[in-house]
């Protein structure tokens, strides 16, 4: 294993460690929010917003929906990187 590969591996492990720490902090914060939600009344702009843990459920679902739709959208509107380039280069030469 050369120096570069070694560095790469160490970096990868560090990133994984930070990722785990981030997830841990996130879970703790969510648990705290859940506890607050149980013990306090949260006022919402719409009646539906006052449902138990509504913003949380809505945020999670919205995020997953956006990403999944994005994946679907890729099938329709994703093109190779040089999609516009070829024709425009021709035009430029002309």
């Amino acid at each position: 294993m050369n120096d570069n590969e070694m560095k790469h591996k160490v970096e990868k492990m560090a990133l994984e460690r930070y990722g785990k720490a981030f997830t841990f902090v996130l879970v703790i914060a969510i648990v705290v929010l859940l506890v607050i939600e149980i013990f306090t009344h949260r006022h919402g702009e719409l009646p539906i917003e006052e449902m138990f843990f509504f913003p949380a459920i809505y945020g999670f679902s919205a995020f997953v929906f956006i990403v999944m739709m994005g994946k679907l959208l890729r099938q329709v509107i994703m093109r190779p990187e040089n999609y516009y380039q070829d024709e425009e280069d021709d035009r430029d030469d002309a």
């Binding site: 570069n4 560095k7 790469h8 591996k9 970096e11 990868k12 560090a14 990133l15 930070y18 990722g19 981030f22 997830t23 996130l26 879970v27 914060a29 969510i30 929010l33 607050i36 939600e37 306090t40 949260r42 006022h43 919402g44 702009e45 719409l46 917003e49 843990f53 509504f54 913003p55 949380a56 459920i57 809505y58 945020g59 999670f60 919205a62 995020f63 997953v64 956006i66 990403v67 739709m69 994005g70 994946k71 959208l73 890729r74 509107i77 994703m78 093109r79 190779p80 990187e81 040089n82 999609y83 516009y84 380039q85 024709e87 425009e88 280069d89 430029d92």
Partner: protein, 565 residues
């Protein structure tokens, strides 16, 4: 107190810009800061019309000041200041000249009290900003700049057309609140809509902005679109259709941003989505909502500039903004990473960051109306903002993959500008009163109550959790080198695909017609020649003589016919 230079605000910056090419490179930025500072003294002017020009029977108000112009003028001056600092390492004059003139034109436009002077500065922002895109010096930038110019000038043409019709209809050119009745207001509305990047009129934004230099994109992100928001807030407050247009604007770009690989393009989609929130607020039109639009525009300019600055810094150091080629820079560029995260948390509207104190005004205003669906769309889009700007930008730039890339030193100007913008994002977030006191309408109460804070945190943290889950399950779409089709496809591909064959068809038709005409002409000539060469009455009368006789005969017959009638 009113500083009286006899010049409308911003014009001093345009005049100063003209001198930039003739100054030694080392003094150019000091000169630019000086121009911004002198122009900023106009912020002290009291409300009213300070400079009227009478021209061709029209009264042009070039220096209009009121509660709405003040916050926009102030933030445009701040943005100009930040851009000058950020571009301190840029020594070439074309970009610097264009940048200062562009910022000056936008400031002057804010102070236009009538539609004609608004048009002049509206066009000036278009023309000056084109040179910022051109300054990148690439073929792609040149082509994008031309498309950008066509769209921007079209906006100007609609505006002057609308202004003329407005004058004929109402006999005045004052830039005031209008209703969407009649062609004049529709023309003006569309002109504003192009610059505000309404749905399907937005292609120019994602097409052109990412093609500019790292410094140029920061300048571009601040002015044109927010000038359009200002214009909508002055011209069309409370126009219901804006609520739905804005709602679509908030939701529709987020899907594109998920799959876009160029991070500056992702930020351009994000810019579009943010404009949506402001457009909705203008559409509601209540004092609270309009305050929301202004507050959002104000903080947005700072955090969007911060995001563009941090990604620009990465482009400056690595030469690319492609997510597929970046990642793992957190150790190499820790300060830039920190600034980017602050910008990301601000745009995602985390409590204690500037986005939160602005967005909650619009959300509260919208929650109090009957537009519950629009409210839910905006809530949905808020999760979208977290996705593309809150997570995607910092994650794919600074984390995601290990990096062994060598990085040079970041220019000091870039670091300082990012630092100032980051401090402003946090400062406004912690002390919202600083922002609220300059808002144009009614007083606003503090947004920090338990319901607002916990509700927002629930939305954002669970959306963040969704990201973690999707990444860990391998369901998050990978970064792929690609082009994502946007609405500019209609004029870059569809229109040529239809028009080219049509043009070819008409060209071939013209060619055939030409061919037929030439053939007939040739035959006629040949016939005439044949007649001329062949005697028609035996050997006595030669052909040419016969032709002359026929012509004389025809002439005589024509005279007789004319006499008869």
């Amino acid at each position: 107190m009113m500083p009286d230079l006899g010049l409308p605000p911003g014009l001093v910056m345009i005049l100063a810009a003209i001198a930039i090419p003739f100054l030694p490179p080392l003094t150019r930025h000091i000169w630019m800061l000086l121009a911004v500072a002198i122009s900023a003294t106009t912020l002290l002017a009291s409300p009213g019309d300070h400079l009227i020009w009478s021209i061709m029977g029209l009264e042009l108000s070039l220096y209009h000041v009121d509660n709405l112009t003040f916050p926009f003028s102030m933030i445009f001056h701040i943005a100009a200041f930040l851009v000058v600092i950020y571009s301190w390492h840029v020594k070439t004059w074309p970009e610097l000249t264009a940048t200062l003139a562009y910022a000056g034109a936008a400031i002057a436009a804010v102070h236009a009290g009538d539609l004609i002077s608004l048009f002049i500065w509206w066009e000036a922002t278009a023309i000056t900003s084109v040179f910022i895109i051109l300054a990148a010096g690439t073929v792609a930038a040149r082509q994008a700049a031309m498309r950008y110019l066509i769209i921007q000038v079209s906006s100007g043409v609609l505006l002057i057309g609308g202004a003329a019709l407005y004058y004929f209809e109402f006999g005045r050119i004052t830039f005031e609140a209008m209703t969407l009745e009649g062609m004049a207001s529709w023309f003006i509305f569309l002109a504003f809509g192009i610059k505000a990047a309404f749905p399907f009129l937005n292609g120019w934004l994602q097409d052109a902005y990412p093609e500019a230099t790292p410094t140029g994109t920061v300048a571009l992100s601040a002015f044109t679109t927010k000038l359009a928001i200002y214009a909508l807030a002055r011209g069309f407050p409370g126009t219901e259709v804006l609520i739905w247009i804005g709602a679509v604007m908030t939701a529709f770009p987020v899907f594109f941003a998920v799959i876009e690989n160029d991070l500056r393009r992702v930020l351009s989609f994000s810019l579009n989505n943010q404009l949506g929130f402001m457009v909705v607020a203008v559409g509601i039109g209540t004092p609270l909502a309009l305050n929301g639009a202004v507050a959002h525009a104000f903080v947005h300019i700072i955090y969007k500039a911060l995001l563009f600055m941090s990604v620009g810094c990465v482009v400056h150091q690595t030469g690319t903004a492609k997510a597929s080629e970046l990642g793992g820079l957190y150790r190499k560029m820790p300060f830039t990473m920190l600034c980017c995260v602050i910008g990301a948390m601000s745009i995602a509207a985390f409590p204690l960051f500037s986005g939160f104190v602005a967005k909650s005004l619009t959300m509260t205003a919208l929650g109090g109306t009957e537009y519950a669906l629009a409210y839910l769309v905006l809530l949905f889009a808020s999760a979208g903002v977290l996705e593309h700007s809150g997570i995607k930008i910092p994650y794919f730039t600074f984390f995601a993959h290990p990096s062994t890339r060598e990085i040079g030193k970041t220019p000091a100007g870039m670091t300082i500008a990012m630092g100032i913008a980051a401090i402003m994002c946090i400062g406004i977030g912690i002390f919202p009163g600083l922002l609220y006191q300059i808002l144009p309408y009614a007083k606003v109460k503090n947004p920090y109550d338990l319901s607002h804070v916990t509700g927002q945190l629930q939305l954002l943290l669970l959306a963040g959790m969704a990201f973690v889950v999707l990444i860990r399950l391998g369901l998050y779409p990978p970064e792929i080198r690609s082009t994502v089709l946007n609405t500019d496809w209609f004029y870059r591909r569809l229109a040529p695909a239809i028009i080219k064959p049509l043009v070819a068809f008409f060209m071939s038709l013209a060619k055939s017609a030409d061919h037929i005409i030439m053939m007939v002409a040739r035959k006629a000539m040949a016939g005439a020649k044949w007649i001329a060469e062949h005697p028609v009455a035996g050997p006595v009368i030669p052909g040419p003589a016969a032709l002359v006789q026929v012509m004389v005969l025809l002439f005589i017959m024509a005279i007789i016919y004319a006499n008869l009638i």
